[in-house]
Subunit: 301 residues, 2 copies
């Protein structure tokens, strides 16, 4: 039987690291990135180009990017950018894919990037116009629920994706920012977006706040999502839920998928080894089961 | 739209408590049980009738059972028993449902209850013969994998269920003792057992060792399992995986199912309240996300 293929995207070096208070030395970050590359990852969100004042953890964005582009230009490397200035910095380092952020919930968009929807769309248009060769993979936050507005609806999501399509956004990442999505909702949203935008690339980014990250990731894969994002060691957090876990842990999802008949193209043991290196060298909130507990038993990792 | 019904069985007062080293005062145990009853649980595994020397935590089995039968005889109350002696004790207190334990893996059966398969079946037959009015819901451990023998196969499982059927066992609980099952395996096993024993009651008991408890529970519900067992607060452990998490956390699964359109008949907030009481009063390994982190946001518990 042929294995089903699934594309996993690692975002720990951005979403995980950015939630660690203590500065992680650049060489530790690079060691993690090297581990991810050696494990077989083809696409990694390596950093974000943000204000050093806002997120000091990301102040080595340029150094990280330089190293990765010099040594691993064959991979899909991308970075998060909160605004035009970030997009420009990313372009200047030589990166050719960025992730701007905008929330489906306008209240959350104001809280997160201090812009109305119209202002965010205008900023995005400016990025699109000035960097026509850049792949723009747009994060849409709070797609399934918002800490201020509650459950979100599909109608406004489709409208927002339509506006993004008009200005030439290349791909969309649907984000469950606070980890409230449930299977029936994930199915409904994915059915709607693929029906309305059949030629688009859609990716899934889910936080594990309520222990539904693995399940919802699994559901999105069943629905044929283009890629699923996870964070090694489950490293991360959520500014709106103190103590909350981060994204789905990469090693847990890889373990599941490899056993369930999928080909992830990623070496579980190397990811676990890298996660263990992180736990020893980074003082953060690791929520991955495989890294947090001893589960080595006969025939099972 | 009518909600789909699903039957959840709470096993924390047995599987959870028994993994706590420090003795939990009987009144704390009873307060947890009262909380579960007030939350709407209809079926609870309240204790186990085991040797006090082997598991001192369960030494108040009789007191717990007396209280529950006196005050909540309308509920389905049951206890785990490792042998004939335990079954006799349970019968004498007035309980009318028990869970003997036997492992699909013969190596694990020897380690766990020090018997061969034949010896376990003989013991079971003796229980069946002497207590014909007792409902026997048999736990089959290591159905999906064994710490000694590795992955388990469906053939020997069907054979074992057949032997149990011949001696008049009333229901079967399929246990993923070390938390290694994956969706395709859960689907295969459930398809096989329901095909071969269409009139049987099958229940599902899964440990969350590798963060697949919620997903596998969800899959078993999709497959029409008769009931799913969970442990409040995710309290528990596994003797073969030090530091491992317990069963799927009741409150996490209830949260998921209620959002996903199921009627569990259980009040999430009362379960969460009870889980919080436990965390304050019991020094154990709580793995439930809802109890361990603050996730209260607009419109979401």
């Amino acid at each position: 039987m042929n294995k089903k293929e699934v594309k996993l995207v690692e975002i720990g070096p951005r979403d995980g690291f950015q939630n660690v208070k203590e500065f992680i030395p650049t060489d530790v970050k690079l060691n993690v990135l090297k581990g991810l590359v050696s494990a077989g990852y083809k696409k990694i969100q390596i950093t974000s180009f943000v204000s050093e004042k806002a997120i000091p953890q990301m102040k080595d964005a340029r150094e990280i990017t330089d190293y990765m582009l010099e040594n691993h230009s064959d991979l899909d490397l991308f970075a998060l950018v909160p605004n035009y200035y970030g997009a420009k910095s990313a372009w200047e380092t030589g990166l050719r894919e960025i992730t701007p952020v905008m929330s489906l919930s306008e209240t959350h968009n104001q809280a997160n990037v201090r812009r109305s929807h119209d202002e965010s769309i205008n900023e995005l248009k400016k990025i699109r116009d000035d960097f026509p060769e850049m792949k723009i993979t747009q994060d849409i936050a709070t797609v399934f629920g918002c800490p201020y507005e509650g459950k979100m609806e599909v109608g406004p999501l489709l409208e927002l994706i339509g506006r993004m399509g008009e200005i030439g956004i290349d791909a969309i990442t649907l984000c469950d920012t606070i980890g409230v999505a449930y299977p029936a909702q994930v199915e409904e949203v994915l059915d709607c977006v693929y029906k309305n935008f059949p030629d688009y690339e859609f990716n899934f980014h889910v936080h594990d706040t309520r222990n539904m990250g693995i399940l919802n990731s699994y559901i999105s894969i069943q629905k044929g999502i283009n890629s699923v994002q996870t964070s090694i060691g489950g490293l991360g957090g959520c500014p709106f839920a103190p103590g909350a876990t981060g994204n789905t842990a990469s090693e847990d999802l890889i373990y599941l998928l490899e056993h369930d008949g999928y080909d992830t193209g990623i070496d579980f043991s190397k990811v676990l080894e890298t996660a263990k290196y992180m736990k020893e060298n980074i003082n953060g909130n690791f929520s991955g089961h495989h890294i947090n507990i001893s589960v080595v038993q006969h025939g099972f990792n």
